[in-house]
Each structure stands twice: as C-alpha cells, then as structure tokens.
Amino acid sequence: MIDQPALLEVRNLVKHFPVRRGVLRRQVGAVRAVDGVSFHIHHRETLGLVGESGSGKSTLARTILRLFEPSGGRVIFDGEDIIALDAKALRRIRPRMQMVFQDPYASLNPRMTAGATIMESLQVNRVGDASKRPQRVRELLDLVGLPPKSLNRYPHEFSGGQRQRISIARALAADPEFIVADEALSALDVSIQAQMVNLLQDLKDELGLTYLFIAHDLAMVRYLADRTAVMYLGRIAELADSEELAQRPMHPYTLALLSAAPIPDPVAEAKREHIVLPGDVPDPGNPPSGCRFHTRCSFATPVCQEQEPQLRDLGTVGKPHLVACHHAEKVRQHGATASSVTQPVKTPPVGRPASDHSL
C-alpha cells in the first residue's frame, strides 16, 4: 500500500472566504475555513473525515473537487494537479470524482423522476452509447437496491433512505473512481443508516471505489473508514488508522468526540468518563491564538496559547499516527487509563433466530 502512489494527494490546501464590510465592500478579514491541510488517500481506501459543524470539513471536500477555487495549495488526483487544470481539462476529469450530498431532500430535482436524474448524469458525463443508456439506468437502480418501478417515480414518492440511494446511483452513473460522501447518512434514521453503510461498503468492494467519507459521528466512521482524520477549525488535529484512533486517541479533541458518542448500553454509559466540551466551535474568522483548541481544552497550558502545534508522527513503523498537540503523550496516557472511553463495549446483543420456525 505504501509503495503505490496515492489516488488523491492534498498538499497544504487553503480556502479563505473574504469578509467584506461597508459601501466599498472592502475586505476586512477572512474566514479561514480550510487553513493548510495535507493528506493522501490510496486507491480503494476509505478516509473518514470527522469534525463539528464549522470545522471546515465540507469546505475541504468541495475545494478538493474544485467546486470552490482554493486560496492556496495543491490537489493531485491520479498524478494530475486539479488546481492547475483549465475548464476543458477539468470537465474531462470530473466524471472520475463524484459527490453524494447531505440532504436527500434538497439535492434531488423534485421535477425529475429517479430515472431522469440518473439518465442526466449519464448524458452530461457522456458515458457509453446513447442507445445503451436506458439499460444502464436500470442496472444502476438495481445496483443501489431500488426496485425497477422506481424509474418513473419522483423524489417525493421515496423515503429519505431511498432518495439517498438515488443520489448514490447518480454519482455512480459517471463511473467514478473517487466518491466524496458529505454527511450522506446524517439525515437518516439509525436503522436506515446501517443499510446505507453496508451498501457503501458493498459498492466499494464491487466497483473498487475510493471514498472520502465525511461525518460528525466517529462511531459510524469507524465502521467505514480505513483511516480517519479529525478536523478542528480548518486544520487536521489527528490522523491515524481508524481502529488506532478509536483505541489510542492522542488529541484532546478526539478524546472528547469519542466520549460524546453515546453508547447504547445503560451500564457502560453510567460507568464511563464523560468529557463534555464547554461552549461551541470558535469563530473561524478569528481563530484562537496558538493551538486553536486551547479555549475548550482541559489539557491546555500557557504554551498552547502561544505556539501552534504542528502535526507530528507518534505512531509505530509503517503505522503513522499524526497528531497536532503539545501534550499528545499526556493525552495518550490519559486515554489508556480512562479505559471506559476506549474499551470495547459489550452489547448490543446480536441475535439470530432460533433454527426452528415451527411454532
């Protein structure tokens, strides 16, 4: 895996939104939504991206796909620098990178049937022969687990989960290698989320896809992602193998996110340590000095207010574990002693029906 070149490489990506005031619309500042982010994703790998609202994860996703023009940095997709491409070259590469959006209600055209929505994607991306496209639409519906009769139905006739299946089929129509799922499951009921997680996993195995999976729920990301990046106020706070991250968090913010994820077990829930983060994410237009997390951090010392911590590797050979915290060693220690946060939780029950069906 290490020898192979990455499918996607993001280098020092920056996206600032100007803040303008007054009659002359002079720029008085900038919202630093993404502020120097680097990572890579290998072929057929899933990278999870986690953070609260306002952490910049959606802006990062859109800047990678060049739906936003970046303020700086490079995005290299399969050897090509996307940022440098002109409109024509960009159109050529776009089908290879697709996106599934958060809101299954707003991201589908209410006046287009499921079939027309998928057909449009085939046409726009010039996939295959025009004569074979109707057949392909039916195949795609089947691939995402929708019945053939869905073809002529409109979005309002589907449930939230089914709509998200249409969005996935639309993304797959372009025959992409790389899919960005931006909070694609967050609006769905938990029982439906589980179906979608399995669908995404199956599609990945079947079609050899690579995912950037964005969510605010660490538990869900742990199921899907090989590696997970935690983002806070436009920067990566921690990045490691998903299991490693959940078991040995080294950034206080990751620790807090893990502790905030509810455990479906009243006994474990009562026993474990709860780190409740005070307040909200600060204004990204005016981020705190030094470490951006110090205002909400229980480990913070004076050095955190002055010096911005850089990402450093505290992992083992071949298993990098990047963390941007002055006190990462102390946090790791804490995570190990507060076992309740990281230890496997035993429930929920996994029941299979008894073999006899003769009642």
């Binding site: 609260e52 807090a256 905030a260 035993k346 929920p348």
Partner: protein, 333 residues
C-alpha cells in the same frame, strides 16, 4: 397513588386525500412524578403524533383522536375545553421541539420571548418576568445571562438556541417536559452537553421527562424506562436496563444491532431489512412480520398484543421468549 401521566389505548387517525392514515393504534403508558421515559421509533412510527396529542396540538381537522384517554394529574386532557388547554399547555406540560432554528421568533429578543411566556402564565409584572428570564438563562448554562436577554436568536449558536428553547419550556416549572428529538440536528459534542443539561435539570427540578428519539444510543444514559414504537404501535416497553440487556421484540433487537458502537472488530452492521408498512392500510397482521427473521405463520394471521414478559417489561411478539433467549455478545465471552 395516581400516576402523573396515564395514556390509555390512544388511537389517532389522519384523514388525507389518499385515505385514512393509522398514525397511532392504541398506545398505553404511564409516568410517575419525576420519572423519565424515552419513546423510540423511526420516522413515521407515530412517536411525535403521540406527543402532540399530549400537548393538544394535533393539526385540526385532519387529525382525529378515535379513542383512548390521556389522564394528567388525574384529569382527562382529551375532554378539556380550549381554555383549559391554554392553562395546561406550557404551564404544566411543556415541550422542546426538534429544530432550534425555526421554533424561536427571529424578530423578538430572547428576553422578550421568555418574559412573554412568563407573564402569560404566572401573572407577574414586567420587571419580575425579566428577572425570571435571566434566572432561566443562567439555569440552562448561558454565560452572562443578563447581558444576553436583549440579543436576538440569530446571535446565539445552534447549541445555545436549543438551551434557550429549554429555558422557554422550563419557564413555568412544568411537571412534565416533552423533548421531541431535541438533539437530532446537533453535533455529538453539543448533544452530549444537552443530555447532561437535561439530566441535571431533572434532578434539580424534579420534573418528569418524555424524550422522543429515533436513536436508542442517545437515551441509554438518560432515562428510567423506554417504550419502542413501530408503525403506530407500541411494540415493547421496559425499564432501561432490561431493554438493552434483554430486548424481547425483534424490532428493538434490530434497532440495537443497527447502531454503530465503538466496539472493536466487527466491520459490518446488521440493519433491519426492508421498510415500514404503509400506514394507509390497517394492520391485520403483526406490522413487523415482513421484516422479521423470527416470523411464523401466526404472525401473518393476527397482530400480537402487548403482553408482560417480565416484571414491568412487556412486548408485542408471539416469539418474545425466543428473542429474549438470545445471548448478548458480552455474555458469550
């Protein structure tokens, strides 16, 4: 002793152009003073409709209460006049809604909205109501409460707005607080703050809480008992520990299995296959039969009633004994 709240065989129907929607089909539960109950179910399970009935806020004329009673402090709410409702609603039973962005008035300051409610119900003068409003903001953990009274909702963050909504609900010391998916739109970190806040307030003020959610994970550490709803029916009811340890209905088990835990190892979730039945058609069988792995012929012939399977634990399933017998993952090791 009479319970604080007693819902018996409540049936709610909606008349729509497509036919009659069987939203709630005879649910029953009770709540003691200071007790907390979670009502869990998917979208369309009727959990919110049941809550709106408690508040007398069902949309008219589409919604009809076809049967049943709701007794609160011994009196039947369903026979109350409009004026009596005005005194109950907000004063004795208060509700926190899902969306903090749309349930506050954007054109009024938070202080105005709070003191309006206080003056309406408690017959106090303006300065006193403002005083009480500041106390409430401080109670729900908003820093500098006096200074924030003159701020408008848009000047508060999402989590703070939800706190303001809770303050509004608490303004008249209600005996019962209904929270309808209050954390669904929020980040996990803010959700954790809300859960701690409601837990603390419940202890401090001794009010009963009904927490409505689709996520069994959220309520594990929060409530005394759980009622699971499916397709307008109550399919299981139990004290919180029993429900998670020994679920007796396949649907409850399915909900638990579809939750991602931070547990090590497993890479695949076990979702419930299919989707809920059409609420336009009255159930002649167990509503869960088509999605159930335990299904037997009997399930397709007549719907099972909610029966006791253990002390304080009931389930509506012919095979609850078999579901119950499945060992928990932890018990196997």
């Amino acid at each position: 002793m009479t319970a604080l709240l007693e819902v018996r065989d409540l049936v709610v129907r909606f008349d729509t152009d497509d036919g009659t929607v069987h939203a709630v089909n005879g649910i029953s539960y009770s709540l003691e003073k200071g007790e907390s109950l979670a009502i869990v179910g998917e979208s369309g399970s009727g959990k919110s409709v049941g809550a709106l009935a408690l508040m007398g806020l069902l949309p008219r004329p589409q919604a009809r209460i076809e049967g049943g009673t709701i007794h609160f402090k011994g009196r039947n709410l369903l026979t109350q006049s409009g004026q009596e409702w005005q005194r109950t609603r907000g004063r004795e039973i208060a509700m926190v809604y899902q969306d903090p962005m749309t349930s506050l008035n954007p054109a009024l300051t938070v202080g105005q909205q709070l003191s309006q409610v206080i003056r309406h119900h408690l017959n106090v003068r303006k300065p006193a109501s403002r005083e009480r409003a500041a106390d409430l903001l401080s109670l729900v953990g908003i820093p500098n409460p006096r200074g924030r009274l003159d701020d408008y909702p848009h000047q508060f963050s999402g989590g703070q707005r939800q706190r303001v909504l809770i303050a509004l609900a608490l303004s008249c010391d209600p005996a019962l607080l209904i929270a309808d998916e209050p954390t669904t739109a929020l980040d996990v970190t803010i959700q954790a703050q809300m859960i701690e806040l409601v837990k603390g307030l419940r202890k401090q003020l001794g009010m009963a809480v009904v927490w409505i959610t689709h996520d069994l994970g959220v309520v594990a550490g929060l409530v005394d008992k759980v009622a699971v709803m499916y397709s307008g029916n109550m399919v299981e009811q139990a004290p919180v520990h029993d429900l998670y340890r020994q679920p007796a209905h396949p649907y409850t088990l399915g909900l638990l299995n579809s939750l991602p835990t931070l547990e090590h190892g497993t890479r695949r979730l076990t979702p419930i296959p299919g989707s809920p039945p059409d609420p336009l058609r009255p159930a002649t069988a167990c509503p869960f039969a088509r999605r159930c792995a335990w299904v037997v012929d009997r399930c397709r012939e007549s719907p099972p009633a909610l029966i006791r399977v253990a002390p304080q634990h009931s389930a509506a399933c012919y095979r609850s004994a078999d579901v119950n017998r499945q060992p928990a993952v932890g018990a196997q090791q």
